[in-house]
Symmetry: C2
Subunit: 378 residues, 2 copies
């Protein structure tokens, strides 16, 4: 597997675009589109929140046949808690793209991120869609990545290349994160593309495997969003033999897809709101992998762990207290904790001495800047 | 019920003391004692953490017969994760008091609060105990309240008076809080005294009722401690008819005990680490009271809710997102949210439209000062 410079337009046959459609007061990009020349086998994972944003509901309908060809995304407005109008506008966003591209609206996905509960500025986006479609190009993957940013400081893009059956397969992706990032969700917004030939069932399975150790293993503030979504689109233009079973080709694909997802998920944590330090928490000795992840996430979401000073004599009592609060059988006599610190990277190793389950999760620190950013963002 | 000035020594027959025994570098009080002239019917609730501090283990043994006569408490060291020595020293603390007071060690409780995992400075406390006992007086309730403080800015004391069977009954209490304050625990440290005559079974029941709506309804940072404990000692010197059933006397006692616990719990939140604003979150329309409390606590523990600006156009989307993350059936169409803001007091009313369950919880905001305090505390 080779890491290459690029993003969602690195795989064959993908184009993108993104610019300011007039919604964000800052004048920063707020509308983007990813388009495939041919119809794609697709899969997606969504927020587990019971309060789902309108675009989530529309995407769940449109992804049900496993086929998509385009994805439109906006920042500056979450289109959540916006009632029937919000749902109507989310559908209209897919229709606008379908009309301009000459494809079916049911093959278009829509993502939104921004403030909850504000009327969706549909008219501004509507005016911008013709220009968005006419300006699509292979060179504009980064424009799309920037269009989905909110309080993110950096765009998050990645692309990798693998060889399957003598064919070069590329997987590209981008994501936005920052705040409201918590375990047990899809992610904030992430879009992954590939030119691999893969069946709908295998793509869905590969996505679930990749998400578990990437987007579902990070937390910034323990706050689950109403808009989280990750989609993957496979247009088959690489021409490899169709991946229809869990064979060696599938394994190579999952490994590459996982690498893409882990890179994007780690980028989200590194760019967490106000983050200055990055934590990697390795939890071992649990009764199961699931228990390991629950305990690791409890440590990662402890405000006391996230604010502690690790430069001298790390306060491991706070890690022990977080473990104790998980309802496991771990006690003082079963728990072992160690730290290593390299500049702004803090590695916490905790063994709870109950079994062989393990998990690794990623988080960032809680800083004055997080408090400032979230006091002002409205 | 009448609120009076006072604390743990307001009920008849209780004395206290507290001073600096040389453990805290700051020179602030770090050792305290509460003593009853006669043996007390007692009950206590403890942290639900699987990592229990040594004093918790000793208290669970000593309270098992429902009788106590004294309570020694220290700050500056949690005596947690301190191994067999820690446990031995926790027992020795009770023995020192027993020897000096001429009572049984099994009738002495011991509480500790401070940093986890540091060797317990037993020798310093040992030297101080004779002076601690000889200086006991009815006037020194506040000295005890100050001796259990860590990062608390203010001591937390309360006393109330009620009349049962024509007898005046007093309940007094004090607590310490600040950080590592989370739902589903006893509290940090709290000591409640009363001169009521009440059976062991009824006292335990009354304590559970009072704790549910007070200490178990507050959160500062969602971090459960290893040392949380609340004890109540009833020495019977008020001379009322023994409360042995859930009659009108019991109800009057529970009401007064609840008032004491709510006052102390709210004081803990008001004095939360770095707190500048106080939140009262009223959750209605849940399927059960338990569900209401879970959802209210999720809102109260959301860093996004706790950092938001409520002065203009409150960001209710963050409350909606927190509700959505709870795994209930609440959706955009069932949820109603309203705010009222009076100076630094923010009232959040959320109805999730599923049933008749309700709960009220209390929290404080998350500030730069919280980050600073917990970066430095070690």
């Amino acid at each position: 597997m080779k890491l290459i410079k690029g993003g969602v337009t690195s795989p064959k046959g993908f184009k993108a675009n993104g610019f300011w459609a007039g919604v964000k007061k800052s004048g920063k990009p707020d509308l983007g589109l990813v388009y495939s020349e041919t119809i794609c086998t697709s899969a997606a994972v969504f927020t587990r929140s019971s309060v789902k944003a309108a675009p989530i509901i529309v995407c769940q309908e449109n992804i049900s046949d496993g086929k998509t060809q385009a994805l439109i995304a906006n920042s500056g407005n979450a289109n959540c808690f916006t009632g029937e109008y919000g749902l109507m506008y989310a559908r209209k966003m897919t229709e606008l793209v379908a009309d301009q591209c000459g494809i079916k609206a049911s093959n278009v996905l829509v993502m939104s991120t921004g403030i909850i509960g504000r009327p969706f500025p549909y008219e501004k986006f509507k005016e911008a869609v013709p220009k968005l479609v006419s300006g699509l190009s292979q060179a504009k993957g980064a424009s799309f990545a920037k269009a989905i940013m909110t309080t993110d400081l950096k765009d998050k893009q990645v692309a990798v290349r693998i060889e399957i059956d003598g064919k070069i397969i590329t997987i590209g992706g981008c994501a936005k994160g920052s705040g409201m990032i918590e375990p047990n969700m899809a992610t904030m917004l992430a879009c992954v593309t590939t030119d691999a030939v893969i069946s709908s069932a295998m793509l869905k399975q590969a996505l679930l495997e990749a998400v578990e150790v990437s987007f579902n293993s990070i937390t910034v503030d323990g706050c689950m969003s109403t808009n989280d979504m990750l989609s993957v689109m496979a247009n088959g233009m690489a021409g490899n033999k169709n991946i229809t079973a869990k064979n060696s080709s599938y394994k190579a694909f999952v490994e590459a897809l996982t690498a893409v997802c882990v890179k994007l998920a780690r980028d989200i944590v590194f760019d967490g709101e106000g983050a200055e330090r990055f934590f990697e928490i390795r939890l071992t000795g649990a009764e199961s992998n699931q228990q390991a992840k629950e305990v690791a996430m409890k440590i990662a979401n402890s405000n006391l762990v996230k604010t502690a000073d690790y430069t001298d004599n790390p306060n491991w009592g706070r890690v022990a207290a977080a473990i104790g609060a998980c309802g496991t059988k771990a006690t003082e006599t079963t728990i072992k904790i160690s730290f290593s610190v390299k500049r702004n990277n803090i590695f916490i190793n905790a063994d709870i001495g109950l079994g062989t389950g393990s998990a690794t999760v990623y988080t960032c620190d809680l800083t004055r800047a997080y408090v400032d950013i979230n006091g002002k963002y409205n």
